[in-house]
Symmetry: C2
Subunit: 212 residues, 2 copies
Amino acid sequence: MNTQTGILTVISGFSGAGKGTIVKRLLEKYPQNYALSISATTRAPRPGEQDGREYFFRSVDCFEKMIEEDELLEYAKYVSNYYGTPKAYVQEQLAAGKDVILEIEIQGALKIKEKYPDTLLLFVTPPSFEELERRLVGRGTETPEVIHERLCRADEECMGIEAYDYLIVNDELEACVDQVHSILQNEHTKISRKELFIMEIKTALTNYAKGE
Amino acid sequence: MNTQTGILTVISGFSGAGKGTIVKRLLEKYPQNYALSISATTRAPRPGEQDGREYFFRSVDCFEKMIEEDELLEYAKYVSNYYGTPKAYVQEQLAAGKDVILEIEIQGALKIKEKYPDTLLLFVTPPSFEELERRLVGRGTETPEVIHERLCRADEECMGIEAYDYLIVNDELEACVDQVHSILQNEHTKISRKELFIMEIKTALTNYAKGE
């Protein structure tokens, strides 16, 4: 019987830091432990994308109805498209004891953390700032405009990082996946997540005292 | 070169939960990672105890001079004896990049946490409250007075546990030691302990922006 509630976990990070690959491998390696939350969006599917795999593709009407009926953990509008996290699937998986992984950017993560303070926030980064530089500059063949755009994006991507819990340095994929797994396993042993166990022990001690 | 500062870690727990054994094994298994802080006391050494191993045995005058000169991280008086944590050794080991383990009770731990908020607090418990009960009641041969005394001690031993970070359930020693090691390894990757790395990345991004 599963008496343990899952942990809501957000993974964010710099573009190209490999967070998608980490999440995919984590789910492959520990399918019993984790569930992946899939976002809903009003943008059109790109070639090869599948409804319910990359995203739930929804009409604007449908999305706005989800907002109205409080069916999203968080949502935001980028350019003219909505993106959001459907609540039902996340809550169902957490109740079943699975840790639910959300791969979203910092602004969405902070909204979720505000509503659900025991959300765990992980940030994925390349192994060094030189490596991030290299990825921003590219192979020297990029126009200054492209570099500038990447730079601005990277700057936005880490805005609010101080509110995060752990920094995942993606040097070697398997080590990284094991680190995320180990952080989550330990997270289940946090005192703040062991209220029931502690209450039971304290009650037992009090009952003894009364019984004497 | 070691650029990483060690983490001050307190291990507390119920009597008989095995915290001494866990700490001993942790230091044996990972001597490069950890250093054990040894308390100072004014109580007389018991047979077999050695100065600098179980405790630093000091005279009352000497101990009070340490208090006066702010040479202790925390101290307390139990019955008529002083107990305290010498500051110099802890700071020296932390600076050398070792995580320093203190095996002290909750009240001392909370004093340290107040002064040094990034101290990590671990609490060791038997695997179930039934097991704790068994240890409190003993083999049924104990007098009600002995049981009562144990009960009161256990109640005190967990007073303030809510301020702790992790609960270590001591079921199997090696698993427990590995859990403590893994918690400490992960702790080094906390965002709040990665300020330098994050500052470097942010500075690099700003410098690019200026250079464009």
